[in-house]
Amino acid sequence: MAIITENTPIGYALPPVARKLDVGLNQVKTDDGKIDTIHTDPDAAAREGLNKPIAVGSRIFGVIPRMMMLCFDDGWVVGGKGSVVTRRSAGVDDLVTAKGIVTSKMPEGDEKLRVECEVWVETDKGEKVMVGQCSGLVARTK
């Protein structure tokens, strides 16, 4: 059951979704992690100018679709839309939390309403690492 409806007010705070990252999630090239990447290996990261390995961007991003699906259900799976920017890297074992607020509602076709949300991901250190806008569709009866 979607949380967001046509009656949800502007300014409504979306339910936060958090997860703990883990370096094991960064083994995107091989399951055994034997190929070193900037996400797993200090030397590979240093050669790219980094102080230490960083989290995979799509793992940080992953908390946003979880939050949006809680809010919109099928109106996210079909009709979900977004634009997000990575402001800075997250550490490989950071706790990341997706948050957001409803910012606008616009009719889309005769039967749907597009609900736009400002979204962001922050770490347990309080840094906003990813920011942007996402929207989903809800039924319109009025």
Binding site: A44, K52, V77, V78, G80, T86
Partner: protein, 170 residues
């Protein structure tokens, strides 16, 4: 721990790095077919700790569907077939137009749509499209990659470890 490099990488384990000058705006990145398996869907659920009954059994679209963020991987596969760009992801625009069903084969295609310099770093944008067997658009993604974390006036002469081309798997 090794100190962060002051030079950009000219090559890595996957070959010569693509330079900003070599990026051709408008270039067709070709296409490939991607069959989305139940195993792909399960791995995406595991990676994102994102579980829902629609991802494992039935859904309003008939059968199991993928978490829509599964579409974040194919754009990198597509780019890696033409260019070797490591860097870091900067911007991601996307739209989910149809549910992605288990067992469905999608045709992934795309093109280079922009390149620019910002804060002394080089960026490139590419657009990716996924069409189903009926030729209908299933998802669209437009991504911007910062080509190097190190600023662009640093020489490109080092040898990196990690490369741009990605294994084509979730």
């Amino acid at each position: 721990m090794a100190k962060p490099s002051k030079v950009r990488m000219a090559e890595d384990a996957t070959g010569k790095r693509t330079t900003y000058e070599e990026i051709e705006v408008g270039k067709d990145l070709g296409s490939f077919e991607w069959t989305v398996t139940e195993a792909d869907i399960e791995r995406q659920c595991l990676l994102d700790e994102h579980w829902h009954e629609w991802f494992v059994s039935d859904s309003p679209w008939g059968g199991a569907v993928a978490p829509p963020q599964i579409q974040s991987r194919p754009p990198r596969w597509l780019l890696g077939r033409t260019y070797n760009i490591r860097g870091v992801s900067y911007k991601h625009d996307f739209e989910y137009l149809k549910a992605i069903k288990a067992g469905q084969t999608l045709t992934i295609s795309g093109k280079i749509s922009d390149k620019y310099v910002k804060r002394n770093r080089e960026f490139m944008r590419w657009d990716t499209f996924a069409h189903d067997e009926d030729g209908e658009l299933v998802f669209y993604a437009s991504r911007v990659q910062c080509m190097d974390i190190i600023e662009r006036d640093a020489p490109r002469e080092g040898v990196g470890v990690d490369g741009g081309p990605k294994p084509e798997r979730i």
